[in-house]
Assembly symmetry: C2
């Protein structure tokens, strides 16, 4: 167990009344706000109208940037920064899922920087200071509503990379589970996959977490496994949407990871898939996760798969450790591919081995390795990609 500092000051308004607080909270930070959003679904489901009404009633002047892409691009960030600087805007309200909120984090820091925002990535410049960011969450998945970080894509360099700083953590996030009723079956499945993967990335770590946090991670996993399928079958089920939404925040806000830092593994491997092929992040994670599990399972690592199997998937605790571990991986596959109904290999989504070498190297980054639960070299990563071509 490592020493740690815990600090999650993000305030959350959660529930059916959450958006009633948008105006008063934004107003505390600025009388001019940049409203950022994606493809306009918020105009169909009433969220846009509600947000604008609340802001106007509080006397906040609204500027807008729409069209933020899934796998958001650095150009959107540049556009946002330009609007903020030209109009002397003091806060951002991101209305969307992880993509919109992630891009807005880069805008929040870019607003106070005198260089191109891609340098937060290419030159590793710190994303601090930043103007205040607030968010209205429309999809349970990335946890961006309560954490530091964001992922951004540069199509020119085929790079999809992350950065973040405590200053870019949302000051306030508004979580109304009802808003996610309109999230499609497929996106609900991908969101559930993403949340589960965040928990796995922390659960499988090098140092060993506190017992308390391991059990809490299992609680979060049980929540996703129970409610992901319910939300797919019954999209207006409030309990399901609420549990998924709050679990998405806690999977990645820093709480469960605090006692054991280690580099994430499946996420960087997946980021190359969606950087090269623009596939949905949660789908890529689902395809990769069980292959990664099979690749790293051995006598030394089996105990962790055993805990997962016994505590989350209710596998008989009296079975042999390795046997439980293997059954656990089968249960993970079953959940992703049967229960959530996601495609189970890369061929099915039209991906072959053409870029595997390039992707494997990029996934390992400058350190030329992924120093996660089990250290992986580019050759290891390539093997995992190859396993994803098999049935």
């Amino acid at each position: 167990m490592l020493d740690f500092t815990y600090s999650i000051p993000t305030k959350i308004h959660f529930g059916k009344d959450a958006l009633d607080f948008v105006g008063e909270e934004v107003k505390k930070y600025s009388s001019k706000v940049l409203l950022t959003y994606g493809g306009g679904s918020i105009k169909k489901n009433g969220v846009y109208d509600k947000v604008v009404k609340e802001l106007k009633e509080s006397g906040v002047e609204i500027f807008e940037l729409s069209g933020i892409e899934p796998n958001p691009r650095i150009d959107s960030v540049r556009k946002g920064v330009k609007i903020i600087k030209e109009n002397n805007i003091g806060a951002i309200l991101a209305v969307g899922g992880g993509s919109t909120i992630d891009a807005s984090k880069f805008m929040a820091a870019g607003a106070l920087a005198d260089f191109d925002p891609w340098e937060f990535i290419s030159k590793g410049k710190p994303m601090s200071p930043a103007i205040p960011l607030l968010s209205v969450l429309t999809m349970a998945a990335t946890g961006s509503e309560m954490d530091n970080g964001g992922v951004i894509t540069n199509p020119e360099t085929k790079e999809k990379l992350s950065s973040g700083h405590p200053d870019t953590k949302p000051k306030v996030s508004f979580l109304n589970p009802e808003i996610t009723y309109t999230v499609s079956k497929y996106q609900t499945a991908c969101g559930s996959s993403d949340i589960l993967s965040h928990i796995f990335e922390n659960y499988f770590n090098q140092y060993g977490s506190m017992y308390m946090l391991d059990r809490m991670m299992e609680s979060l996993m049980k929540t996703v496994i129970k409610y992901g399928p319910i939300a797919m079958k019954d999209p207006n089920n409030y309990e399901a949407r609420a549990n998924l939404m709050w679990a998405s925040s806690w999977a990645i806000n820093g709480f469960i990871s605090s006692s054991s830092k280690s580099q994430w593994t499946v996420h960087p491997i997946e980021h190359e898939l969606s950087a090269f092929y623009d596939i949905t992040h949660g789908l890529g994670l689902a395809i990769l996760t069980p292959r990664w599990m099979e690749y790293v399972l051995n006598e030394t690592t089996a105990h962790k798969f055993y805990d997962l199997g016994v505590n989350v998937f209710d596998i008989d605790k009296d079975l042999d450790q390795i046997e439980v571990a293997k059954k656990t991986i089968e249960k993970v596959k079953e959940f992703f591919f049967d229960t959530l109904g996601l495609d189970s290999n890369l061929k099915e989504i039209g991906i072959d081995d053409k870029y595997f070498d390039q992707m494997s190297k990029k996934a390992c980054g400058k350190k030329e390795k992924i120093d996660g639960f089990i250290e992986l070299s580019p050759a290891d990563v390539r093997k995992i990609y190859e396993m994803c071509l098999e049935d």
Copy 2:
């Protein structure tokens, strides 16, 4: 599930290096601090010297108030307020367990009030504004290091009552599990009992919590049940002390209670015991809890005891619900009285029925009832006290 606002801005330095940050953190708030502590055990275990060294190195001027009692009294609060006002002190650093931190919350608010601090209780005056409070935790139990509230006793009126405000929540708390190595076996047992009771008070509620939070509460319970006994047998076990310490904070910081508010039950019943007899809070809770459980168990409430039994005490899920519920209560008794070794009834600690009528009425307060998981009248409370005289 209810709508809620989540806001826990307290920053935590956790681990063996936690106290290294005391000076720099206090200095952010004030260059003069009131250092509050209890009976002086911190002078024996090196904590006092460490804290003073860190404060001095950061150039913080120190004023002291020692001698804060277990079940802290309003007179200590008055003394603290006097020192703060006379010396224009800008922050408080409480070094201790719940008693010292609780009393310091009343001082923090009292420092900016122009009335006697007992009026926070007697007249319900809001504990806001308040000067910044920071805390060094020396015992895992009350969770006061990360929550709003405090309990204070007035010996003249035999009243032990609570109040609190977001403004009195510690800004920063320093949690080094090693500091709790010197907590006695008995106090470790009482602390474990207190933590467990905080979780029960939230778990057994009127509205029904989110599934995710119910599972997280069970994770916290498992943590206490696993590590309480280990810490008693092996006081220098870091994992045990760390898990108990972090669980103490999360049992009561507002996270697990957020989706379902209801009035606590066993705590107000216990507060009368310690107000009348000055017994240790955790001991009183241990004696009361299983009796309260027996009193409220019925066909309607059994499902919650069933969840507790199956998910925490590993009782066979295929048994009849009421049977599981009864076995669960036996497990709770076993944990408090056999595993933790606490006295199992009031006779053993020299308490008889002399004040039961008075105590029952006071426990129910002005509303003349406790509106918790199951509503209790003074007559109900009296019956629960009576059950505590039986073996």
